[in-house]
Amino acid sequence: MQMLTQFFDWIKAPWHWSVAGVLVGLTVPALLLLGNKHFGISANLRHACAACMPANIPFFRYEWKKEIWNFFFVGGLIAGAFVAAQWLQSGQPVAIHPDLAADLVQAGITDHSQLVPEQLFNFSNIFSLKGLFFFVIGGFLVGFGSRYAGGCTSGHAISGLSNLQLPSLIATIFFMVGGFISANWLVPFLLKL
């Protein structure tokens, strides 16, 4: 009984990066061996277009039903996040670097209790100028950029690098270049809006 309690305490504390890394890495062979499927998530956005609004665009005219497994994977992903957030959290705020915390205070973000800061990503912000950038333009860049690059962090950085693909390394490097520019110069500016 005591062991069980200890186990749940361990589960409820934030996981070490190595535990997460191993489990994320194992997704690659799990999908390959379960059904010859290559791990990647951004293609779901394309399948959504192909299923709902192909509009006779050649890029969306393919048999998306052959990729229906990807919708199942993402369905599980949403459910898993729900389960973990509901029942497996310690309730402690995300411990963040003091410099980041200090910068965010100036932007009015003081609450670190959620993984997604509610003071920034809330419904009343959606129709503000800030919301236009953090929700609409940010999301647009994620969708447009990942498809233009031919994959996102999971497809290129995890699947592609696991298969030692140079184009995936190039894509990953430019993900990081964009991210560095954005987080260090763009985001601080946008937070002041």
Binding site: P14, K37, A43, G76, A81, F140, V142
Partner: protein
Amino acid sequence: MNTIHIPPTSGGQSSLSEYEQRALDTVCVNDSEEKESLPANLKYAAVGLLFGVVFVKAEVISWFRIQEMFRLQSFHMYGVIGTAVAVGALSVWLIKRYQIKAVNGEPVVFHDKKFNKGQIIGGALFGLGWAITGACPGPLFAQIGAGALAIFVTLFSAIAGTWVYGYFREKLPH
């Protein structure tokens, strides 16, 4: 565009085979010839479920962790991605080396990606969005699952971005 080694199984309206069309600008492709029933697809949902738990528990979907990563204020995300790539690469190597087959007996198929300018231009644009939203596509779904319902707007916008890319694809440099 990707190089495809599988012979086309059915002809589409375009010059590309259905498979080539489906695999365009995409990493995660179904390479199985088997037609699986809907319940059989639940096994992918099970893998996704575990994946979702990991995403939340390791704070991978945290907007704060993404800011720290790009500001070089924390090793956490580098550790997660680095370990994942190491484990993934070892697994792929083992599958290739010992020609381990999928559970249905099919040989596991790998593809070589071809370089195109999209990996640079699209990659950088994606990076800009990644740091703003604090989420790449996987975490977008997970953030919604974890209860941040406002992120539906971001997800919808990401789908719109994908659609716009598809619309202008032929005109963009590749």
